[in-house]
């Protein structure tokens, strides 16, 4: 059973989780373009700037978070995710060395998946907006 304080934590930190997930997606997307030889797979792609901005916001939110005992595990995963994704983002600033970016990025995403499993309310993807997924079971 989730207590009220933890429910508040979930609501307050949902966007932080979503933003970190988005930054991971943005970096992964840029890497796949680069690895596939797309002309758009370059460090000049606007997605990198968007990722930096979003990462700053997510990091600020993470610093403000006040995890309850029930939320400690979630918060620890989220913190580790932010640290790893931050390393990946920093690496991307020096050019698209795929290995140097991919290793911390994958580690960061794994931490996000663990965070999603640690508390309800944090989805790995937005199922409710997926085209082939039906209505929620009541």
């Amino acid at each position: 059973m989730i207590n009220d304080a933890t429910a508040k934590y979930i609501v307050e930190n949902k966007n932080c989780f979503e933003d970190l997930k988005q930054v991971a997606s943005q970096l992964a997307g840029l890497l796949v373009l680069a690895a596939a030889g797309s002309k758009e797979g370059s460090p000049d792609h606007p997605v990198l700037g968007a990722a930096r901005e979003l990462y700053r916001e997510a990091n600020d939110a993470l610093r403000r978070a006040r995890p309850t005992d029930q939320a400690c595990k979630h918060h620890a995963h989220l913190t580790r995710a932010a640290a790893s994704i931050g390393i990946a983002l920093k690496e991307a600033g020096g050019g698209l060395n795929i290995d140097a970016i991919l290793i911390p990025l994958r580690a960061g995403y794994t931490e996000l998946e663990r965070a999603a499993d640690a508390l309800p309310g944090f989805e790995k993807i937005a199922y409710r907006r997926a085209c082939c997924v039906g209505a929620r079971i009541q």
Partner: protein, 292 residues
């Protein structure tokens, strides 16, 4: 003469999917079964697939418990029903990047994947937009993108830019830009291998969910009705439907929507022990039926 055997393999299903999500305008008209399927193409010493399904490890529990997806089975079990192993598959065509179509990449260790370059590049562009545009990201799993990086580095991800003919003999890829997704595509199999084929099949991904999309509600007075969900435009969907239907000589039953339950009414099929349907569209010369 058939060059290829063609099977539609069900790997999971939603028993009660709202009609309005499938056929534009069918609001408050109940639900229908929505099977999740991929296509197997066998012939010329090749094994290919259209789409690969979703990653159960990542999504199975939520999809089953929260959204009512039932009966998921791994490709290993599904393909074994027709005597194939995932490692045997050499070529996979991804119609679009939604998680239930390209989520199972890692189960096919020896396959080369074909995807429209625009499908990737526009998703990445979309990701550069602000949060309020997040609806445009629907159905994308970040983990699938990470897996695609590995594929690309191994030289197993081929980004196609527009039409490509004879990727395998008689098998062509056609873009459907700005329709269901930014860079959707459909796959044509010319099963007589002729340039002006009299035996074409179209595998349309989610460009059509059911026959209503291809011929409307009255087969005697056909019309195109778009699917219930598009990132691109309904106009583009309708014009793509025209191209698909024309490419099979006007026979809409040769356009195969993988989510259409009524394929069983038109083609031989059987139900496996796991409760999943195998539908046999065509048999290559000398190939034994897998459903009778």
């Amino acid at each position: 003469m058939n060059a290829y055997s063609l099977w539609v393999m069900e790997y999971a299903a939603v028993p009660n999917y709202p009609q309005s999500g499938l056929i534009y305008g069918m609001h408050n008209q109940g639900t229908r079964k929505l099977p999740y399927c991929y296509i197997v193409i066998k012939g010329h010493g090749k094994l290919a697939m259209v789409d690969v399904g979703y990653n159960h490890k990542a999504h199975g529990e939520v999809l089953a418990n929260t959204y009512g997806v039932r009966g998921w089975r791994a490709p290993k079990e599904v393909l074994a029903e027709i005597g194939i192993q995932p490692a045997d598959i050499s070529t996979i065509f991804i119609t679009h990047a939604h998680f239930d179509h390209m989520g199972n990449i890692e189960d096919f260790p020896n396959a080369t994947f074909y995807l429209q370059e625009r499908e990737l590049s526009k998703w990445v562009w979309t990701m550069s937009l602000e949060r309020r545009f997040r609806w445009l990201m629907l159905g994308i799993d970040p983990a699938d993108i990470l897996r695609a990086v590995d594929l690309a580095r191994q030289g197993r991800l081929v980004c196609v830019d527009g039409d490509r003919e004879n990727v395998l003999p008689g098998i062509d890829l056609h873009p459907a830009f700005d329709t269901h997704t930014w860079g959707s595509m459909y796959v044509t199999v010319r099963n007589d291998l002729a340039a002006n084929s009299q035996s074409s099949w179209v595998f349309c991904g989610d460009l059509a969910y059911g026959y209503e999309n291809l011929r409307g509600h009255d087969p005697e007075d056909p019309e195109y009705i778009p699917v219930g969900l598009a990132t691109g435009s309904q106009f583009n969907l309708i014009m793509t439907t025209e191209r698909m239907v024309k490419s099979v000589g006007g026979d809409v039953h040769r356009v195969i929507p993988p989510h259409e339950e009524r394929l069983k009414d038109l083609f031989p099929s059987r139900i496996t022990k796991a409760g999943l349907r195998i539908t046999e569209l065509a048999l290559a010369d000398g190939e034994k039926s897998q459903v009778v």
